[in-house]
Protein backbone atom coordinates (compact mmCIF):
# COMPACT_ATOMS: atom_id res chain seq x y z
CA UNK A 1 0.00 0.00 0.00
CA UNK A 2 2.85 2.31 0.92
CA UNK A 3 4.54 1.58 -2.40
CA UNK A 4 1.31 2.23 -4.29
CA UNK A 5 0.88 5.59 -2.57
CA UNK A 6 4.47 6.46 -3.37
CA UNK A 7 4.26 5.63 -7.09
CA UNK A 8 0.89 7.38 -7.45
CA UNK A 9 2.36 10.61 -6.09
CA UNK A 10 2.38 13.20 -8.94
CA UNK A 11 5.99 14.08 -8.05
CA UNK A 12 7.19 10.47 -8.20
CA UNK A 13 10.45 10.39 -10.18
CA UNK A 14 9.48 7.49 -12.47
CA UNK A 15 5.89 8.64 -12.97
CA UNK A 16 6.18 8.74 -16.78
CA UNK A 17 7.18 5.07 -16.85
CA UNK A 18 4.07 4.27 -14.77
CA UNK A 19 1.81 6.42 -16.98
CA UNK A 20 3.30 4.86 -20.15
CA UNK A 21 2.71 1.37 -18.81
CA UNK A 22 -0.86 2.26 -17.86
CA UNK A 23 -1.64 3.71 -21.30
CA UNK A 24 -0.28 0.59 -23.00
CA UNK A 25 -1.97 -1.63 -20.42
CA UNK A 26 -5.36 -0.14 -21.27
CA UNK A 27 -5.13 0.14 -25.07
CA UNK A 28 -3.05 -2.89 -26.12
CA UNK A 29 -5.55 -5.48 -24.76
CA UNK A 30 -8.36 -3.75 -26.70
CA UNK A 31 -6.41 -4.38 -29.90
CA UNK A 32 -5.40 -7.85 -28.70
CA UNK A 33 -9.09 -8.82 -28.45
CA UNK A 34 -9.29 -8.52 -32.25
CA UNK A 35 -6.01 -10.42 -32.74
CA UNK A 36 -7.41 -13.30 -30.69
CA UNK A 37 -10.88 -13.13 -32.22
CA UNK A 38 -9.40 -13.37 -35.72
CA UNK A 39 -7.11 -16.20 -34.62
CA UNK A 40 -4.05 -14.09 -35.46
CA UNK A 41 -2.21 -14.59 -32.16
CA UNK A 42 1.03 -15.53 -33.93
CA UNK A 43 0.92 -12.15 -35.61
CA UNK A 44 0.91 -10.64 -32.12
CA UNK A 45 4.24 -12.39 -31.46
CA UNK A 46 5.84 -11.74 -34.82
CA UNK A 47 4.92 -8.08 -35.34
CA UNK A 48 6.60 -6.76 -32.16
CA UNK A 49 9.71 -8.66 -33.30
CA UNK A 50 9.44 -7.08 -36.75
CA UNK A 51 8.98 -3.70 -35.10
CA UNK A 52 12.15 -4.23 -33.03
CA UNK A 53 14.06 -5.16 -36.20
CA UNK A 54 12.75 -1.92 -37.75
CA UNK A 55 14.05 0.08 -34.79
CA UNK A 56 17.47 -1.60 -35.02
CA UNK A 57 17.63 -1.04 -38.78
CA UNK A 58 16.72 2.63 -38.39
CA UNK A 59 19.44 3.18 -35.75
CA UNK A 60 22.08 1.41 -37.82
CA UNK A 61 21.06 3.34 -40.93
CA UNK A 62 21.25 6.63 -39.02
CA UNK A 63 24.57 5.76 -37.38
CA UNK A 64 26.06 4.78 -40.74
CA UNK A 65 25.09 7.99 -42.54
CA UNK A 66 24.85 10.60 -39.77
CA UNK A 67 26.57 9.20 -36.69
CA UNK A 68 24.76 8.22 -33.51
CA UNK A 69 21.64 10.23 -32.69
CA UNK A 70 21.48 12.15 -29.43
CA UNK A 71 19.44 10.60 -26.64
CA UNK A 72 16.54 12.95 -27.26
CA UNK A 73 13.41 13.24 -29.35
CA UNK A 74 15.41 12.53 -32.57
CA UNK A 75 16.27 9.17 -31.11
CA UNK A 76 12.58 8.39 -30.59
CA UNK A 77 11.57 9.76 -33.99
CA UNK A 78 14.15 7.64 -35.86
CA UNK A 79 13.04 4.54 -33.99
CA UNK A 80 9.36 5.33 -34.63
CA UNK A 81 9.96 5.75 -38.38
CA UNK A 82 11.90 2.48 -38.61
CA UNK A 83 9.42 0.57 -36.50
CA UNK A 84 6.34 1.92 -38.32
CA UNK A 85 7.71 1.49 -41.85
CA UNK A 86 8.70 -2.13 -41.35
CA UNK A 87 5.57 -3.06 -39.35
CA UNK A 88 3.16 -1.49 -41.86
CA UNK A 89 5.10 -2.92 -44.82
CA UNK A 90 4.90 -6.41 -43.37
CA UNK A 91 1.19 -6.07 -42.50
CA UNK A 92 0.32 -4.93 -46.03
CA UNK A 93 2.32 -7.77 -47.63
CA UNK A 94 0.73 -10.35 -45.30
CA UNK A 95 -2.76 -8.96 -46.01
CA UNK A 96 -2.16 -9.11 -49.78
CA UNK A 97 -0.85 -12.68 -49.61
CA UNK A 98 -3.77 -13.68 -47.38
CA UNK A 99 -6.23 -12.14 -49.83
CA UNK A 100 -4.69 -14.14 -52.68
CA UNK A 101 -5.01 -17.24 -50.48
CA UNK A 102 -1.50 -18.38 -51.31
CA UNK A 103 0.41 -20.53 -48.80
CA UNK A 104 -0.26 -20.88 -45.07
CA UNK A 105 -0.49 -17.74 -42.92
CA UNK A 106 0.91 -19.46 -39.80
CA UNK A 107 3.95 -20.62 -41.74
CA UNK A 108 4.61 -17.12 -43.07
CA UNK A 109 4.22 -15.54 -39.63
CA UNK A 110 6.50 -18.11 -37.97
CA UNK A 111 9.13 -17.54 -40.66
CA UNK A 112 8.74 -13.79 -40.16
CA UNK A 113 9.30 -14.14 -36.41
CA UNK A 114 12.50 -16.14 -36.91
CA UNK A 115 13.88 -13.86 -39.63
CA UNK A 116 13.01 -10.64 -37.75
CA UNK A 117 14.62 -12.00 -34.56
CA UNK A 118 17.77 -13.01 -36.41
CA UNK A 119 17.93 -9.70 -38.29
CA UNK A 120 17.63 -7.75 -35.01
CA UNK A 121 20.52 -9.66 -33.44
CA UNK A 122 22.71 -9.34 -36.54
CA UNK A 123 21.97 -5.62 -36.89
CA UNK A 124 22.72 -4.76 -33.28
CA UNK A 125 25.86 -6.95 -33.27
CA UNK A 126 27.38 -4.56 -35.78
CA UNK A 127 27.03 -1.49 -33.55
CA UNK A 128 27.71 -1.35 -29.81
CA UNK A 129 25.64 1.74 -28.99
CA UNK A 130 22.58 0.45 -30.84
CA UNK A 131 23.06 -2.90 -29.10
CA UNK A 132 22.77 -1.30 -25.66
CA UNK A 133 19.54 0.51 -26.61
CA UNK A 134 17.95 -2.55 -28.19
CA UNK A 135 18.93 -4.81 -25.29
CA UNK A 136 17.10 -2.43 -22.96
CA UNK A 137 13.99 -2.78 -25.13
CA UNK A 138 14.29 -6.58 -25.29
CA UNK A 139 14.52 -6.77 -21.50
CA UNK A 140 11.47 -4.55 -21.13
CA UNK A 141 13.13 -2.09 -18.81
CA UNK A 142 10.58 0.70 -18.61
CA UNK A 143 12.43 3.22 -16.48
CA UNK A 144 12.54 6.65 -18.02
CA UNK A 145 10.09 7.95 -20.60
CA UNK A 146 10.65 11.61 -21.57
CA UNK A 147 7.59 13.89 -21.52
CA UNK A 148 7.53 14.24 -25.32
CA UNK A 149 7.56 10.48 -25.86
CA UNK A 150 4.77 10.08 -23.33
CA UNK A 151 2.77 12.75 -25.14
CA UNK A 152 3.27 10.99 -28.52
CA UNK A 153 2.21 7.70 -26.93
CA UNK A 154 -0.85 9.34 -25.36
CA UNK A 155 -1.90 10.96 -28.65
CA UNK A 156 -1.26 7.82 -30.72
CA UNK A 157 -3.04 5.49 -28.33
CA UNK A 158 -5.81 8.06 -27.80
CA UNK A 159 -6.44 7.95 -31.54
CA UNK A 160 -6.46 4.13 -31.45
CA UNK A 161 -8.96 4.18 -28.60
CA UNK A 162 -11.21 6.58 -30.51
CA UNK A 163 -11.11 4.43 -33.68
CA UNK A 164 -11.92 1.28 -31.70
CA UNK A 165 -14.81 2.98 -29.90
CA UNK A 166 -16.33 4.66 -32.94
CA UNK A 167 -16.01 1.72 -35.36
CA UNK A 168 -16.45 -1.08 -32.84
CA UNK A 169 -19.49 -2.64 -34.51
CA UNK A 170 -17.94 -2.67 -38.00
CA UNK A 171 -14.67 -4.17 -36.73
CA UNK A 172 -16.58 -6.81 -34.75
CA UNK A 173 -18.75 -7.67 -37.76
CA UNK A 174 -15.82 -8.21 -40.18
CA UNK A 175 -14.04 -10.18 -37.46
CA UNK A 176 -16.90 -12.44 -36.41
CA UNK A 177 -18.75 -12.96 -39.69
CA UNK A 178 -17.07 -11.73 -42.83
CA UNK A 179 -19.71 -13.14 -45.18
CA UNK A 180 -22.50 -11.42 -43.25
CA UNK A 181 -20.56 -8.16 -43.47
CA UNK A 182 -20.40 -8.46 -47.27
CA UNK A 183 -24.10 -9.30 -47.46
CA UNK A 184 -24.82 -6.07 -45.55
CA UNK A 185 -22.83 -4.05 -48.08
CA UNK A 186 -19.75 -3.46 -45.93
CA UNK A 187 -16.42 -2.94 -47.71
CA UNK A 188 -14.54 -5.59 -45.78
CA UNK A 189 -11.16 -4.74 -47.35
CA UNK A 190 -11.43 -1.16 -46.06
CA UNK A 191 -12.31 -2.34 -42.55
CA UNK A 192 -9.52 -4.93 -42.63
CA UNK A 193 -7.04 -2.23 -43.60
CA UNK A 194 -8.27 0.00 -40.79
CA UNK A 195 -7.87 -2.83 -38.28
CA UNK A 196 -4.40 -3.71 -39.58
CA UNK A 197 -3.47 -0.03 -39.37
CA UNK A 198 -4.64 0.05 -35.75
CA UNK A 199 -2.60 -3.09 -34.98
CA UNK A 200 0.45 -1.59 -36.72
CA UNK A 201 0.32 1.73 -34.85
CA UNK A 202 -0.32 0.00 -31.51
CA UNK A 203 2.64 -2.34 -31.91
CA UNK A 204 5.15 0.07 -33.43
CA UNK A 205 4.49 2.73 -30.77
CA UNK A 206 4.22 0.26 -27.89
CA UNK A 207 7.41 -1.63 -28.73
CA UNK A 208 9.33 1.64 -28.62
CA UNK A 209 8.25 2.23 -25.05
CA UNK A 210 8.07 -1.22 -23.47
CA UNK A 211 9.78 -3.60 -25.91
CA UNK A 212 8.47 -6.66 -27.82
CA UNK A 213 8.00 -9.08 -24.90
CA UNK A 214 5.85 -6.74 -22.82
CA UNK A 215 3.95 -5.58 -25.90
CA UNK A 216 3.01 -9.15 -26.77
CA UNK A 217 2.12 -9.85 -23.14
CA UNK A 218 -0.29 -6.91 -22.96
CA UNK A 219 -1.79 -7.69 -26.37
CA UNK A 220 -2.64 -11.30 -25.61
CA UNK A 221 -2.81 -12.22 -21.90
CA UNK A 222 -5.48 -9.75 -20.60
CA UNK A 223 -7.91 -10.61 -23.45
CA UNK A 224 -7.34 -14.30 -22.73
CA UNK A 225 -8.26 -13.77 -19.07
CA UNK A 226 -11.23 -11.58 -19.98
CA UNK A 227 -12.44 -14.17 -22.51
CA UNK A 228 -12.74 -16.65 -19.65
CA UNK A 229 -14.74 -14.30 -17.43
CA UNK A 230 -16.92 -12.12 -19.67
CA UNK A 231 -19.50 -12.73 -22.39
CA UNK A 232 -19.66 -10.73 -25.62
CA UNK A 233 -17.04 -8.69 -27.48
CA UNK A 234 -17.77 -5.38 -25.77
CA UNK A 235 -17.68 -6.87 -22.26
CA UNK A 236 -14.51 -8.83 -23.06
CA UNK A 237 -12.89 -5.65 -24.41
CA UNK A 238 -13.79 -3.55 -21.35
CA UNK A 239 -12.64 -6.25 -18.93
CA UNK A 240 -9.39 -6.81 -20.87
CA UNK A 241 -8.58 -3.08 -20.69
CA UNK A 242 -9.31 -3.00 -16.96
CA UNK A 243 -7.15 -6.07 -16.37
CA UNK A 244 -4.34 -4.54 -18.47
CA UNK A 245 -4.46 -1.35 -16.41
CA UNK A 246 -4.51 -3.33 -13.16
CA UNK A 247 -1.55 -5.46 -14.22
CA UNK A 248 0.40 -2.37 -15.31
CA UNK A 249 -0.20 -0.65 -11.96
CA UNK A 250 0.38 -3.61 -9.63
CA UNK A 251 3.27 -4.89 -11.80
CA UNK A 252 4.97 -1.50 -11.65
CA UNK A 253 4.55 -1.32 -7.87
CA UNK A 254 5.94 -4.85 -7.44
CA UNK A 255 8.88 -4.20 -9.76
CA UNK A 256 9.67 -0.93 -7.94
CA UNK A 257 9.52 -2.57 -4.53
CA UNK A 258 11.47 -5.69 -5.50
CA UNK A 259 13.86 -3.89 -7.86
CA UNK A 260 12.88 -6.10 -10.79
CA UNK A 261 12.59 -5.06 -14.47
CA UNK A 262 9.05 -3.69 -14.93
CA UNK A 263 8.09 -5.35 -18.24
CA UNK A 264 8.80 -8.97 -17.29
CA UNK A 265 7.16 -8.37 -13.90
CA UNK A 266 3.98 -7.18 -15.68
CA UNK A 267 3.92 -10.20 -17.98
CA UNK A 268 4.63 -12.65 -15.14
CA UNK A 269 1.84 -11.09 -13.10
CA UNK A 270 -0.61 -11.32 -16.02
CA UNK A 271 0.42 -14.96 -16.50
CA UNK A 272 -0.16 -15.66 -12.80
CA UNK A 273 -3.66 -14.12 -12.97
CA UNK A 274 -4.45 -16.27 -16.03
CA UNK A 275 -3.23 -19.38 -14.20
CA UNK A 276 -5.36 -18.59 -11.12
CA UNK A 277 -8.49 -17.93 -13.22
CA UNK A 278 -7.95 -21.12 -15.24
CA UNK A 279 -7.41 -23.17 -12.07
CA UNK A 280 -10.51 -21.70 -10.41
CA UNK A 281 -12.61 -22.52 -13.47
CA UNK A 282 -11.23 -26.06 -13.59
CA UNK A 283 -12.12 -26.56 -9.92
CA UNK A 284 -15.61 -25.16 -10.50
CA UNK A 285 -16.04 -27.55 -13.44
CA UNK A 286 -14.75 -30.61 -11.59
CA UNK A 287 -16.41 -30.11 -8.18
CA UNK A 288 -20.00 -31.07 -9.14
CA UNK A 289 -18.75 -34.13 -11.05
CA UNK A 290 -16.69 -35.30 -8.09
CA UNK A 291 -19.66 -34.74 -5.78
CA UNK A 292 -21.86 -36.99 -7.96
CA UNK A 293 -19.27 -39.81 -7.82
Amino acid sequence: METLLEILNPHFLLRNALYGGLIIGIVAPLVGVFLLARRMVFLGVALPQVSTAGIAAAFIWHAFFHGHPDRDINDFAIALVGSSLLTFGVIVILALLERRKRGILEGRVAMLYAVAGAATILLVASDRITEIGILGLLKGEIIAIPDTELLILLLGYGAILAVLAVFHKELVLVTVDREMAISLGKHVVVWDLLLFGVIGVTISLGVLVVGPLVMFGFLIVPPMIAGRLALGMRNVSVMAAMLGAGVALVGFAAAYRLDWPTGPTDVALAGAVLAVVTAAQAVRFLMPRMAVK
Binding site: R38, L173, V176, L184, G185, K186, L231, G232, M233
Partner: protein, 239 residues
Protein backbone atom coordinates in the same frame (compact mmCIF):
# COMPACT_ATOMS: atom_id res chain seq x y z
CA UNK B 1 -37.41 -8.97 -66.19
CA UNK B 2 -38.36 -5.72 -64.53
CA UNK B 3 -39.23 -7.22 -61.15
CA UNK B 4 -36.13 -9.43 -60.89
CA UNK B 5 -34.31 -8.92 -57.60
CA UNK B 6 -31.39 -11.00 -58.80
CA UNK B 7 -30.45 -11.71 -62.38
CA UNK B 8 -27.52 -13.83 -63.58
CA UNK B 9 -26.53 -13.46 -67.24
CA UNK B 10 -24.03 -16.00 -68.57
CA UNK B 11 -22.24 -15.95 -65.23
CA UNK B 12 -19.12 -17.94 -64.31
CA UNK B 13 -18.47 -18.40 -60.60
CA UNK B 14 -15.48 -19.98 -58.91
CA UNK B 15 -12.59 -19.67 -56.51
CA UNK B 16 -9.03 -18.42 -57.11
CA UNK B 17 -9.94 -17.57 -60.74
CA UNK B 18 -10.92 -21.20 -61.42
CA UNK B 19 -14.57 -21.48 -62.49
CA UNK B 20 -16.76 -24.01 -60.69
CA UNK B 21 -19.92 -23.12 -62.60
CA UNK B 22 -20.18 -21.46 -66.01
CA UNK B 23 -22.88 -20.05 -68.27
CA UNK B 24 -25.38 -19.51 -65.45
CA UNK B 25 -28.50 -17.56 -66.38
CA UNK B 26 -31.30 -17.20 -63.86
CA UNK B 27 -33.67 -14.71 -62.26
CA UNK B 28 -35.12 -14.42 -58.77
CA UNK B 29 -38.33 -12.40 -58.73
CA UNK B 30 -40.19 -10.61 -55.97
CA UNK B 31 -42.23 -13.11 -53.96
CA UNK B 32 -40.39 -16.22 -55.24
CA UNK B 33 -39.55 -19.14 -53.01
CA UNK B 34 -36.78 -21.00 -54.79
CA UNK B 35 -34.96 -24.05 -53.45
CA UNK B 36 -31.51 -24.91 -54.80
CA UNK B 37 -30.82 -28.62 -54.60
CA UNK B 38 -28.20 -31.01 -55.94
CA UNK B 39 -25.44 -33.41 -55.01
CA UNK B 40 -22.73 -32.43 -52.51
CA UNK B 41 -20.12 -30.13 -54.01
CA UNK B 42 -22.22 -29.30 -57.10
CA UNK B 43 -22.05 -25.55 -56.41
CA UNK B 44 -25.35 -24.73 -54.67
CA UNK B 45 -23.71 -22.56 -52.00
CA UNK B 46 -21.46 -21.01 -54.67
CA UNK B 47 -24.55 -19.72 -56.48
CA UNK B 48 -25.95 -18.34 -53.22
CA UNK B 49 -22.66 -16.56 -52.51
CA UNK B 50 -22.77 -15.12 -56.02
CA UNK B 51 -26.25 -13.76 -55.33
CA UNK B 52 -25.16 -12.05 -52.09
CA UNK B 53 -21.91 -10.70 -53.54
CA UNK B 54 -19.53 -12.78 -51.44
CA UNK B 55 -18.28 -14.12 -54.77
CA UNK B 56 -18.04 -11.76 -57.70
CA UNK B 57 -18.51 -13.32 -61.15
CA UNK B 58 -15.40 -14.40 -63.05
CA UNK B 59 -17.38 -13.69 -66.24
CA UNK B 60 -20.84 -12.44 -67.08
CA UNK B 61 -23.06 -10.11 -65.12
CA UNK B 62 -24.99 -10.34 -61.87
CA UNK B 63 -27.72 -7.75 -61.36
CA UNK B 64 -28.76 -7.06 -57.78
CA UNK B 65 -31.30 -4.28 -57.49
CA UNK B 66 -34.80 -3.01 -57.04
CA UNK B 67 -34.80 0.01 -59.33
CA UNK B 68 -32.54 2.63 -57.78
CA UNK B 69 -32.20 0.91 -54.43
CA UNK B 70 -29.81 -2.01 -53.91
CA UNK B 71 -31.34 -5.23 -52.67
CA UNK B 72 -31.25 -5.70 -48.89
CA UNK B 73 -30.13 -9.23 -48.13
CA UNK B 74 -31.02 -11.35 -45.14
CA UNK B 75 -28.24 -13.88 -45.37
CA UNK B 76 -28.26 -16.99 -43.20
CA UNK B 77 -24.85 -18.62 -43.61
CA UNK B 78 -23.87 -22.11 -42.59
CA UNK B 79 -23.33 -21.96 -38.83
CA UNK B 80 -19.65 -22.89 -39.10
CA UNK B 81 -18.78 -19.59 -40.81
CA UNK B 82 -19.18 -17.61 -37.57
CA UNK B 83 -15.96 -17.02 -35.62
CA UNK B 84 -16.60 -17.58 -31.91
CA UNK B 85 -13.31 -17.23 -30.01
CA UNK B 86 -15.15 -14.92 -27.63
CA UNK B 87 -18.71 -16.14 -27.21
CA UNK B 88 -21.30 -13.53 -28.18
CA UNK B 89 -24.75 -13.40 -26.64
CA UNK B 90 -27.77 -14.34 -28.72
CA UNK B 91 -28.80 -10.67 -28.74
CA UNK B 92 -25.37 -9.51 -29.95
CA UNK B 93 -25.47 -11.99 -32.84
CA UNK B 94 -28.97 -10.90 -33.86
CA UNK B 95 -28.04 -7.22 -33.49
CA UNK B 96 -25.50 -7.57 -36.31
CA UNK B 97 -28.43 -7.67 -38.71
CA UNK B 98 -28.97 -3.94 -38.13
CA UNK B 99 -25.37 -2.97 -38.94
CA UNK B 100 -26.16 -2.56 -42.65
CA UNK B 101 -28.64 0.22 -41.88
CA UNK B 102 -26.74 1.90 -39.06
CA UNK B 103 -23.85 3.76 -40.63
CA UNK B 104 -20.20 3.60 -39.52
CA UNK B 105 -19.52 5.49 -36.32
CA UNK B 106 -23.17 5.53 -35.26
CA UNK B 107 -24.60 3.65 -32.32
CA UNK B 108 -27.54 1.28 -32.72
CA UNK B 109 -30.59 3.21 -31.56
CA UNK B 110 -33.08 1.98 -28.98
CA UNK B 111 -35.77 1.46 -31.65
CA UNK B 112 -33.41 -0.80 -33.63
CA UNK B 113 -32.66 -2.80 -30.51
CA UNK B 114 -36.37 -3.24 -29.89
CA UNK B 115 -36.77 -4.44 -33.48
CA UNK B 116 -34.05 -7.03 -32.90
CA UNK B 117 -35.88 -8.23 -29.79
CA UNK B 118 -39.05 -8.51 -31.86
CA UNK B 119 -37.17 -10.57 -34.49
CA UNK B 120 -35.93 -12.90 -31.75
CA UNK B 121 -39.54 -13.14 -30.60
CA UNK B 122 -40.63 -14.02 -34.15
CA UNK B 123 -38.30 -17.03 -34.14
CA UNK B 124 -39.40 -18.01 -30.63
CA UNK B 125 -36.19 -17.14 -28.81
CA UNK B 126 -37.10 -13.94 -26.96
CA UNK B 127 -36.24 -15.45 -23.59
CA UNK B 128 -32.79 -16.67 -24.66
CA UNK B 129 -31.33 -13.33 -25.73
CA UNK B 130 -28.78 -13.16 -22.90
CA UNK B 131 -27.55 -16.72 -23.40
CA UNK B 132 -24.18 -17.34 -25.05
CA UNK B 133 -24.75 -18.21 -28.72
CA UNK B 134 -22.40 -21.25 -28.67
CA UNK B 135 -24.38 -22.75 -25.76
CA UNK B 136 -27.51 -23.13 -27.93
CA UNK B 137 -28.53 -26.26 -29.79
CA UNK B 138 -28.02 -26.45 -33.56
CA UNK B 139 -31.65 -25.69 -34.30
CA UNK B 140 -31.73 -22.73 -31.89
CA UNK B 141 -28.57 -21.27 -33.41
CA UNK B 142 -30.11 -21.53 -36.83
CA UNK B 143 -33.17 -19.64 -35.60
CA UNK B 144 -30.93 -16.91 -34.13
CA UNK B 145 -29.26 -16.54 -37.54
CA UNK B 146 -32.70 -16.27 -39.15
CA UNK B 147 -33.61 -13.57 -36.59
CA UNK B 148 -30.39 -11.75 -37.49
CA UNK B 149 -31.29 -11.94 -41.17
CA UNK B 150 -34.78 -10.57 -40.39
CA UNK B 151 -33.24 -7.71 -38.39
CA UNK B 152 -31.67 -6.56 -41.68
CA UNK B 153 -35.25 -5.94 -42.93
CA UNK B 154 -34.44 -7.89 -46.06
CA UNK B 155 -35.99 -7.85 -49.51
CA UNK B 156 -34.50 -11.28 -50.09
CA UNK B 157 -33.89 -14.03 -47.53
CA UNK B 158 -31.04 -16.37 -48.48
CA UNK B 159 -30.51 -19.53 -46.45
CA UNK B 160 -27.48 -21.77 -46.89
CA UNK B 161 -28.23 -25.32 -45.70
CA UNK B 162 -30.37 -24.21 -42.72
CA UNK B 163 -31.30 -27.83 -41.94
CA UNK B 164 -27.85 -29.38 -41.95
CA UNK B 165 -26.65 -30.95 -38.72
CA UNK B 166 -29.89 -30.54 -36.78
CA UNK B 167 -32.46 -33.12 -35.66
CA UNK B 168 -35.76 -33.80 -37.39
CA UNK B 169 -37.90 -31.88 -34.92
CA UNK B 170 -35.68 -28.77 -35.11
CA UNK B 171 -35.68 -29.03 -38.92
CA UNK B 172 -39.48 -29.11 -38.88
CA UNK B 173 -39.62 -26.01 -36.66
CA UNK B 174 -37.29 -24.14 -39.00
CA UNK B 175 -39.25 -25.10 -42.12
CA UNK B 176 -42.47 -23.96 -40.43
CA UNK B 177 -40.81 -20.68 -39.53
CA UNK B 178 -39.53 -20.09 -43.07
CA UNK B 179 -42.94 -20.97 -44.49
CA UNK B 180 -44.63 -18.52 -42.10
CA UNK B 181 -42.22 -15.73 -43.03
CA UNK B 182 -42.82 -16.27 -46.73
CA UNK B 183 -46.60 -16.50 -46.34
CA UNK B 184 -47.14 -13.64 -43.86
CA UNK B 185 -44.55 -11.17 -45.13
CA UNK B 186 -44.35 -12.21 -48.77
CA UNK B 187 -40.61 -12.49 -48.21
CA UNK B 188 -38.70 -13.55 -51.32
CA UNK B 189 -36.68 -16.61 -50.31
CA UNK B 190 -33.85 -18.64 -51.80
CA UNK B 191 -32.80 -21.69 -49.86
CA UNK B 192 -29.99 -24.18 -50.41
CA UNK B 193 -30.78 -27.62 -49.05
CA UNK B 194 -30.26 -31.29 -49.68
CA UNK B 195 -33.20 -32.26 -47.46
CA UNK B 196 -35.58 -33.15 -50.29
CA UNK B 197 -38.23 -34.59 -47.98
CA UNK B 198 -38.46 -31.34 -46.01
CA UNK B 199 -38.73 -29.34 -49.23
CA UNK B 200 -41.41 -31.64 -50.61
CA UNK B 201 -43.46 -31.22 -47.44
CA UNK B 202 -43.06 -27.43 -47.40
CA UNK B 203 -46.02 -25.83 -49.12
CA UNK B 204 -44.22 -22.48 -49.54
CA UNK B 205 -41.56 -23.84 -51.91
CA UNK B 206 -42.76 -22.80 -55.36
CA UNK B 207 -39.80 -23.67 -57.53
CA UNK B 208 -36.85 -26.00 -57.30
CA UNK B 209 -33.60 -25.62 -59.19
CA UNK B 210 -31.33 -28.62 -59.55
CA UNK B 211 -27.66 -27.85 -59.89
CA UNK B 212 -26.43 -30.81 -61.87
CA UNK B 213 -23.05 -31.22 -63.59
CA UNK B 214 -22.62 -27.46 -63.81
CA UNK B 215 -26.05 -26.93 -65.34
CA UNK B 216 -29.28 -25.54 -63.89
CA UNK B 217 -32.58 -27.34 -64.20
CA UNK B 218 -35.51 -25.29 -62.88
CA UNK B 219 -39.19 -26.02 -62.59
CA UNK B 220 -42.21 -26.17 -60.27
CA UNK B 221 -41.50 -27.85 -56.95
CA UNK B 222 -43.98 -30.68 -57.53
CA UNK B 223 -42.35 -31.62 -60.84
CA UNK B 224 -38.71 -31.16 -59.82
CA UNK B 225 -39.12 -33.15 -56.61
CA UNK B 226 -41.05 -35.96 -58.32
CA UNK B 227 -39.47 -39.38 -57.72
CA UNK B 228 -38.29 -39.93 -61.34
CA UNK B 229 -36.35 -36.63 -61.45
CA UNK B 230 -34.91 -37.20 -57.98
CA UNK B 231 -33.82 -40.75 -58.87
CA UNK B 232 -32.17 -39.48 -62.04
CA UNK B 233 -30.24 -36.82 -60.12
CA UNK B 234 -29.32 -39.19 -57.30
CA UNK B 235 -28.14 -41.77 -59.86
CA UNK B 236 -25.90 -39.06 -61.21
CA UNK B 237 -24.55 -38.46 -57.72
CA UNK B 238 -23.94 -42.16 -57.04
CA UNK B 239 -22.66 -42.92 -60.55
Amino acid sequence: MADALISFRDVALGYDSVPVLEGLTLDVHLGDFLALVGPNGCGKSTILKGMVGILEPLRGNIGRGMGERPVRFGYVPQRETIEMVFPLTVFEVALMGTYGRVGPGRFVAHAERERVRACLGDVGLADLQRKPFPALSGGQRQRVLIARALAAEPDLLLLDEPLSGIDLRAAQTIMELITKLHRNRGLTTVMVSHHLKALRECEAVQEVMWVYEGKLLRGPAATMLAPDIVFRMMDAEIG
